[in-house]
Amino acid sequence: MEENKKIYINGRECNYKDERNLLEVIRKNGINLPTFCYHSELSVYGACRLCIVDIENKGIVSSCSIKPEPEMRVKTHTTELRGIRKISMELLLANHSKECTSCGKSLNCKLQDLASSLGVGDVRFKKREKLIPLDTSSQALVRDPNKCILCGDCVRACDEIQGIGAIDFMNRGSDVQVVPAFDKNLAEVECVDCGQCARVCPTGAIVPKSDIHDVWKELEDPNKVVVAQIAPAVRVAIGELFGMKPGTILTGQIVAALKLMNFDKVFDTSFAADLTVIEEANEFLRRNESKDSLPLFTSCCPGWVKYAEQYYPELLGNLSSCRSPQQMFGSLAKDLLPGQLKINKKDIVVVSIMPCTAKKVEAKRDEFEKNGIPEVDYVITTQELAAMIKEAGLDMNNLAPESLDLPMGFKTGAGVIFGTTGGVSEAVLRYAYEKISGKQLDNPDFKAVRGIEGLREVEVNVGETKLKVAIVHGLANAGKIAEMVKKGEADYSMIEVMACPGGCVGGAGQPVTFDDNTRKERAKGLYECDKMLQLHKAQENPYVKEVYNKHLGEPGGHKAHDLLHTTYRNRKRIFESGFEVLSGTNSQKLEISVCVGTGCYVKGSQNLLHKLIRYIDEQGLQEMVNVKATFCMENCDKGPSVTVGDNLIYACNFEKAVSEINEKLTVLKVD
């Protein structure tokens, strides 16, 4: 017989089972204790001191950090507890930048919310901190340390969910700040722009960067044709900002709103997702045949792509070369539309509406710019779109739905479920199944790949062929699976990676929510969408077929490759340039770099650098050379590494370097 486990909350008997901690038990019993630093998906931190309770014989403790015990007697709202909570709030507010009305988080701010619900009236403390400058370096996010309450949610989200740790605490006492490594700007560090920090931030200390201003300007320009693409996850979430339930499908209303705001054409990113399915599935089938570069990693998620570039450059060959749907749409739009609409390419403005902050950075990648014209001009988030709709004075609740424009507004269900974890895999399987088996797939649902587990694996039998698919979300999980692949312990055919928990529905550009259920409801909405559409397989999309026939040729063919695929680069070293030590003024100069990474440093590279500089000085060669101290060239065992011109010298010493320099300089002088 199972033990009847009960505790007493404010004198009332309450049952509990296997809740993670006392806080969860209290909340389950209808008392919503306030918290800043508690998230069910993050480790317990215990810093905000708002969930404190008074336990008989134990005194005042934070309920998030204590396990319920049988017969525990807990009080949640004594005068003392309420007093401490109020003082805590007053203390936070005293130093908080109080620009609430103009803050990006206004109305979604937990601090604002709790200050009001805890009944904080006067703040009796003085502001005793100085203003700290904002970090606006990132294309995706803005950090405002003056609004930070140091709950550490962002730090733990980045470390625990994403396995990155791009931000952490610095200093002690009231000087503590959350900063990127070495107090650098966010754009200069390992941040992959996923914005999960902003998603969990209770205040406006980290918020997605807004591009609304520029989009409004373009909409006003009569010479521009402004084209929108709507990502799948946006349609099932935007309603939350207009008082609707998460998962409410609002595709038609978004189209109507965009049209009213002067967008010329409104298309669907899901159309491009259908294209992605076909390109990626073909790529996969080719690789599966030749057993080359398997498992295939998906590449739709820019957060994951940057993560792989930074930490697993050796696996970049395993990433699908397919562009993400956003970028496929962009390149196709800029290629097709000038002819179709009879306008100049430079007058087309592509605006992406995305659930994602990393998409803002993806659109700015060099690979996605042709002759100075970006393929996607602006990326705005679900939040930003809602802000524009509100600013335009439109009422989402009363807009008559309108249809998306053709051809790129037509999609199948495959392209829609891209917005949730497991969706890309399912969409690809719907294609691959028919391709491999040669049979028609009657029921397109692969329910086995659906779910919310952070790391799932599914085996699908297609005739004789067994396909083993892994699905991960959260980059910490991606890191785990990448390690397995590196060690040869993963026998998957394909691995779907999405950076954000839950996939794109949980993106940082989505409406702010602190409710774990919201993501599930949004995903449900997407599967609902799939059901309501008449087609479910990308290969059945007639407009996709038409694009291949008239425009692209074969999947994976020359044109398709040009428009729909991309390349990646190793970003393991953030500072590619190193430090300039000497820079000559001659038009032709010899480039010399000395590695001062740890391995080479230990082997005396710093001394070598000093000696070379002295030599160059003595010989009067300053104007003819550029000397740099670089970071690790990854030849540590053969260090010190020195490059002279294009020649890399291993185990370099002064004599070797000097003879190479003299030789190269002689050639340079002759030229």
């Binding site: 810093a47 905000c48 605490f169 006492g173």
Partner: protein, 634 residues
């Protein structure tokens, strides 16, 4: 290769044998204080001078050096009377020379070592009556103490493992590893009643027992040497003066809980302690006392020395564990306690240095003997760092139950006034327990000090800082001093501690500068209470103690600041009225130059005048005047 079992008896005999014919032993204090005052030079000078005089100087004892009539020069750990360093004691004569310079050494060698005479001028002079005290036995600072844990600190050569063994060292560990079960070790410890010296006073035996019963093959023992209270240096002295006692204590703790690995966490600012502890660990390893098959048993125990970066909060056990694990030193909520989930998630015992150094003594001398010292609920002795306005400052050790009166007036030699003269009527208060402790006043002078009596009046033993204050001390400034310390050292994790200590400091500053009202005092008290009750860790929970206890004990003084805008101790410059005394002022103009607001006027060579409306009470004129012509009133 299995090392042969260490034979402690043999080592002891050999050591005693080697020292049998030593004529004299000169002990030069080599604690941090004396080293800073040049005791290393003194040590060298002795060796040189003794050899020059045809005597034989030995710096270590072993068989090879068995020479009759040799003089053994030994360094020791801190002898406690740092104020009087460098200290040199000469045995068996029982002479203690104080403030010895290297240039004094030839005289000592000639007079004392050769002619058996005492050099009076180097003896300690009693500040009360000016009499010379020949040795520690005649000095109140020493003879009123009861040095137990510190006893060997001042006489033993901390770098000689053989000497430690020769006084019975490691014999407790040997006994327990061979003859005791872990449960018995814990049981005996509970019976002995030793309470943690790190500040909390939690019973050590119970802590061990909690850890012992946790399942799992991997457990850790950590020695907390992250002493950080301003002015406290008890743990440093033990680590410097008797590092092997700490290691032996850790071995016993390891035996009690079944740990095979230990860490000694020492703050980086203690380089001498780090060096001595490292050497002690190395020597113990080489002798086979640490490692595998300890004392011929199947047990293993290894010790690592870890240097902390000097954050005060790393003295908090969960923060210390985080620091060892390479993380930022921030505390975690408890439970889980380290006993359940400590270092790398394994059951861990964390004990303070002094606690661990006491452990071998308990098993050496027996539980009954130990319990005969101190009080019933706080048996044993406690070391304190005595500083402030007392005649004798330094490191002391007294049994629990000793009164403040005995400490301040007997051992400390009485309260000193501004000129440094003894004037016991100037006694105002004692801050005990550093930034976590509280304030004791005249009414507490006869309170027997122990864990419970102190807690009952809102103070705590803490790690053992004792700051005596005379009547010229302003209690607002005192509270501000400690608050400044804690708000700086707060790790910044929890809201109440991070923001609360900062705001408390701010409120105290408002009081000091005359900007406070009665509401400020109410708010200060309310805030202090919230920080005390609601903070995450011990640092935050105890940070308000000094201000709360000073507010209570010196309520009137705080009110004088707030209501009358006056500082009775005349320390808060902003609350002083400045006046130039015409008779004394020669009109030199120095104060006019220094005054930042142009509040002082006057012709040259004519008495100057301060315009009170312009005066911002910064005190610059007071400091500038060389004729004491500026007076402050309250």
């Amino acid at each position: 290769m299995k090392k042969s079992r260490v034979n402690l008896k043999q080592i002891t005999e050999n050591y005693k044998d080697a020292g049998k014919n030593i004529k004299r032993r000169i002990v030069v204090c080599s604690g941090t204080g004396c080293v800073a005052n040049g005791s290393k030079n003194v040590l060298d000078a002795f060796e040189k001078s003794i050899n020059e005089n045809g005597l034989n100087a030995l710096t270590s004892l072993s068989f090879e050096h068995k020479t009759d009539n040799s003089i053994h020069i030994s360094k020791s750990g801190c002898q406690g009377f740092c104020q009087m360093g460098p200290l040199v004691s000469i045995e068996p004569d029982g002479i203690l020379y104080v403030v010895v310079d290297k240039d004094d050494v030839p005289e000592i060698v000639d007079q004392t070592l050769i002619h058996n005479k005492v050099v009076d001028r180097l003896l300690y002079k009693d500040p009360k009556d000016g009499t010379f005290c020949k040795g520690a036995k005649e000095i109140n600072f020493y003879n009123k103490q009861s040095r137990y844990v510190l006893k060997s600190c001042g006489s033993l050569d901390p770098e000689d493992i053989n000497e430690y063994i020769s006084i019975g060292g490691y014999s407790s560990a040997e006994k327990l590893f061979n003859d005791y079960t872990p449960a018995k070790v814990c049981g005996d410890m509970i019976e002995a009643g030793l309470r943690g010296r790190g500040g909390g006073g939690f019973p050590t035996g119970r802590k061990w027992e909690f850890t012992r019963v946790e399942p799992g093959p991997k457990k850790y023992v950590i020695c907390n040497g992250d002493e950080g209270d301003p002015g406290a240096f008890m743990d440093r002295s033990i680590m410097e003066g008797n590092p092997h006692s700490v290691i032996e204590g850790m071995m016993i703790a390891a035996r009690a809980i079944g740990a095979d690995e230990g860490y000694i966490y020492v703050r980086l600012e203690y380089p001498l302690a780090v060096a001595r502890v490292k050497k002690a660990v190395k020597d113990a390893e080489e002798m086979g006392l640490l490692g595998d098959n300890i004392f011929g048993t199947e047990h293993s125990f290894r010790v690592h020395v870890m240097e902390g970066a000097g954050a005060f909060v790393c003295g908090e056990e969960t923060a210390l564990i985080a620091s060892i694990e390479g993380k930022r030193g921030m505390p975690q909520p408890k439970p889980p306690f380290p006993a359940q989930s400590g270092l790398y998630g394994k059951p861990t015992v964390i004990n303070n240095v002094e606690t661990l150094a006491t452990v071998p003594l308990i098993f050496r001398d027996g539980i009954e003997n130990y319990r005969s010292k101190g009080t019933d609920t706080s048996p044993g002795t406690k070391t304190f760092a005595l500083t402030g306005h007392v005649a004798n400052t330094g490191l002391i050790e007294v049994p629990f139950g000793t009164t403040l009166r005995e400490i301040i007036f007997d051992i400390g030699g009485g309260i000193t006034n501004e000129e440094g003269k003894i004037d016991n009527s100037m006694f105002k208060a004692v801050q005990i327990g550093g930034p976590s402790g509280g304030c004791l006043t005249e009414e507490h002078l006869d309170l027997p000090l122990d864990f419970d009596s102190l807690r009952s009046i809102g103070a705590m033993v803490g790690s053992g800082g004792l700051v005596a204050m005379n009547k010229n001390t302003c209690m607002v400034q005192m509270a501000k001093f400690f608050m400044d310390f804690t708000q700086n050292e707060s790790c910044g994790k929890c809201v109440l501690c991070r923001e609360g200590t900062k705001q408390m400091l701010g409120l105290l500053e408002d009081i000091e500068t005359g900007e406070a009202t009665e509401d400020t005092l109410i708010l200060l008290k309310e805030l202090a209470g919230a920080v005390q009750k609601g903070s995450l860790c011990g640092l935050g929970k105890t940070a308000p103690n000094p201000v709360l206890s000073m507010l209570e004990q010196f309520h009137d003084e705080y009110f004088a600041h707030v209501i009358d805008k006056k500082c009775p101790a005349k320390k808060c410059t902003a609350l002083l009225a400045y006046e130039i005394i015409e008779e004394k002022c020669k009109g030199c103009g120095l104060c006019i130059k220094k005054c930042p607001t142009g509040a002082i006027t006057g012709e040259r060579k004519q008495p100057h005048h301060i315009n009170e409306e312009l005066c911002i009470k910064c005190g610059a004129c007071l400091q500038a005047c060389r004729l004491d012509a500026i007076e402050t009133g309250v």
